[in-house]
């Protein structure tokens, strides 16, 4: 059974993928859909949703259009999720690959280094990093990346360790290929699948982490992210629930979709784990 077929047979994965596509489309066409800045006051504050056609999701504390905020927020939140995951991969993949391939002292040292980052509670470390670098897009992305790479490194190391013993890698070593080239062309391509799966889950965590940072006042006030919107509306949960509810749902759906798709991917790549096989 081909990968695509297996993926398509997984209903959850398809739902996830569909939601994701919608969110991404939404993010892409946001500037066309809502050409005005989402920060602009457009109506009276606290306009309830479904009351005025122009503002289907209502307005927030300052009379800003929540639908517009959601659309623009999709861009920001997805960007934060993607870029910080990339940062984590950029740190984690090379470290894990080197540690796994080199073994011995190098492995030991790199794993101590990884452990080192896992020893401080990750959320606490993220808070401290953002506080140190000050809350800006760059520092938030960096902080999220820095606290989320160790699992990547461990995963890649494990994969590399097992791949190293395979015949074709051993063969490449025997014929004297340079190490970098072996890692690059023989080992890494075979670790791509689990990395993609992990990455898709990490994007979701990153979006959640950013919303938590926003809640503690460590968001970037120049960017309308979903997390920022939830945090800003949280004191009005009682009488203006929609301000934080809609962005909350947006975060929830996106993370859910990423997880469903990620798991579907995982099942499709590892038929061994496919469902319905007891």
């Amino acid at each position: 059974m081909s990968f695509l077929k297996r993926f398509a047979r997984n209903r959850g994965a398809l739902i996830g993928l569909t939601i994701l596509v919608v969110v991404i489309l939404f993010a892409i066409i946001a500037p066309q859909l809502y050409p005005q800045s989402p920060w602009r006051t457009v109506a009276r504050p606290f306009l309830a949703p479904f009351v005025m056609d122009r503002f289907p999701l209502g307005t927030d504390t300052l009379g800003r259009d929540i639908a517009s905020g959601l659309a623009h927020g999709a861009r920001v939140s997805l960007t934060i999720g993607l870029v910080s995951t990339l940062v984590a991969l950029l740190i984690g993949v090379p470290l894990g690959a080197i540690a796994g391939y080199a073994g011995g002292i190098v492995d030991d040292a790199l794993m101590r280094f990884t452990e080192f980052f896992q020893t401080i509670p990750s959320f606490a470390l993220a808070i401290v990093l953002v506080a140190i670098l000050q809350p800006k897009l760059g520092s938030i992305v960096l902080a999220i990346g820095v606290v989320s790479w160790p699992p990547v490194a461990r995963l890649v190391r494990g994969e590399v360790l097992s791949l190293k013993t395979r015949e074709y890698v051993q063969a490449a070593i025997t014929i004297g290929q340079p190490t970098a080239r072996i890692i690059w062309s023989q080992v890494l391509p075979n670790t791509i699948a689990p990395i993609i799966v992990m990455g898709s889950l990490m994007i979701g965590s990153a979006i959640l982490l950013e919303s938590s940072l926003s809640f503690l006042g460590l968001g970037d006030p120049n960017l309308m992210s979903w997390g920022y919107m939830v945090g800003a509306g949280r004191t009005r949960l009682l009488d203006a629930w929609w301000i934080s509810f809609f962005p909350g749902v947006a975060i929830f759906l996106t993370v859910l979709a990423l997880n469903l798709a990620g798991e579907g991917l995982n099942d499709a790549l590892n038929p061994r784990l496919a469902r319905g096989r007891e």
């Binding site: 509670p121 990750s122 606490a124 939830v230 859910l256």
Partner: protein, 325 residues
């Protein structure tokens, strides 16, 4: 390698990691803008040069940086975590004051999530592909994907304000002076919301981990053999699959236990729970260096400790690991 040697090795490595962390933390925190004296003076709404000089001297900030590092490390070698001038209390006593509340909260969340999570995961795996699996998996995803603080605030509104079932904030009824069982019940009622909120997230992780791990093990040769022998599916599932699938769960439990201190910043903030997480966050936004370093050190030490513990459990549970290491 026997267990004692293994332990000694792990301990030595752990101490090296802790030392490096202590030094790194020191410089990390100094990189943040502002200092404790400036914060204290700023909060007072009035400050002058002389006040800042007086306060910096109290905080020991007038010393050269390396001297401060030396004083700090020397203190740690003698188990002295320093003194918070801001709070007029030793860091160790500040941490010990807060530790019971945090342990209670994270401990309760730990038990709830471990129990509920593994149960959900096991059930889902046994019914893999059927509707029960879908329900449980979706539920776990819902737990996982909802922002924690949002759940926290919503639960306060629903269960405290609207339904009046349990108190929304705090550790116990202040001024009620309950004793004995009444006090325990009072604390328990305060514990409900924060423990559940914090537990939900981990419940999701355990459920997913347990499910995946059970499915993985179910495909392994020894399980196939057991099944081929004609053992009843329920027995196979319980005796062979669940027991082996528990290993990754142990790893996760070790990880969660490591986060016992300082992993609950958000929950403690929203529920006004007087624990370590809040102590850490307050110390951060006040640049109370000694407290922040102390909390970081304590929580790192916990993580290192639990990592070693996890390794031991692993070796006891699965003898094959010894052969590998």
């Amino acid at each position: 390698m026997n267990l004692a040697q293994f332990l000694a090795g792990r301990l030595a490595k752990g101490i090296v990691v802790l030392f490096a962390i202590a030094v790194l933390n020191f410089f990390l925190i100094r990189a943040a803008p502002g200092d404790p004296a400036q914060v204290l003076a700023g909060e007072a709404g009035a400050a002058d040069e002389q006040l800042l000089i007086q306060l910096r001297e109290r905080f020991g900030l007038d010393q050269p940086l390396l001297t401060q590092l030396w004083v700090y490390l020397k203190g740690y070698l003698t188990f002295d975590l320093g003194f918070s001038y801001r709070q007029q209390q030793s860091v160790l006593s500040l941490i010990l004051d807060r530790l019971p509340a945090t342990l209670l909260l994270t401990g309760a969340a730990f038990i709830v999530s471990l129990g509920l999570g593994t149960l959900m995961g096991a059930l889902a795996a046994r019914r893999a592909g059927r509707w029960q699996d879908s329900v449980i998996t979706t539920l776990a995803l819902v737990f996982y994907a909802t922002p924690l603080f949002w759940v926290a605030l919503m639960s306060q509104i629903v269960f405290s304000l609207k339904l009046g079932l349990v108190p929304n904030v705090g550790y116990e009824s202040i001024g009620a002076n309950y004793t004995g069982l009444a006090r325990a019940l009072d604390i328990a009622s305060h514990l409900v919301l924060p423990a559940l909120t914090l537990g939900l997230f981990f419940t999701a992780l355990y459920a997913r981990m347990m499910r995946a791990s059970m499915l993985e093990v179910a495909g392994a040769d020894f399980v196939k053999t057991a099944r081929a022998k004609g053992l009843a599916p329920g027995l196979v599932s319980r005796r062979h699959v669940a027991r082996n699938a528990i290993l990754p769960v142990v790893t996760l439990a070790g990880l969660q236990a490591g986060q016992l201190v300082g992993g609950a910043v958000l929950t403690e903030t929203v529920f006004a729970w007087p624990g370590i997480g809040r102590l850490m966050f307050d110390a951060l936004v006040q640049r109370d260096y000694s407290v922040l370093l102390g909390v970081f050190f304590m929580s790192s030490a916990m993580v290192v400790g639990f990592n070693i513990l996890t390794d031991i459990v692993y070796r006891l549970a699965d003898p094959r690991i010894e052969a590998v290491s």
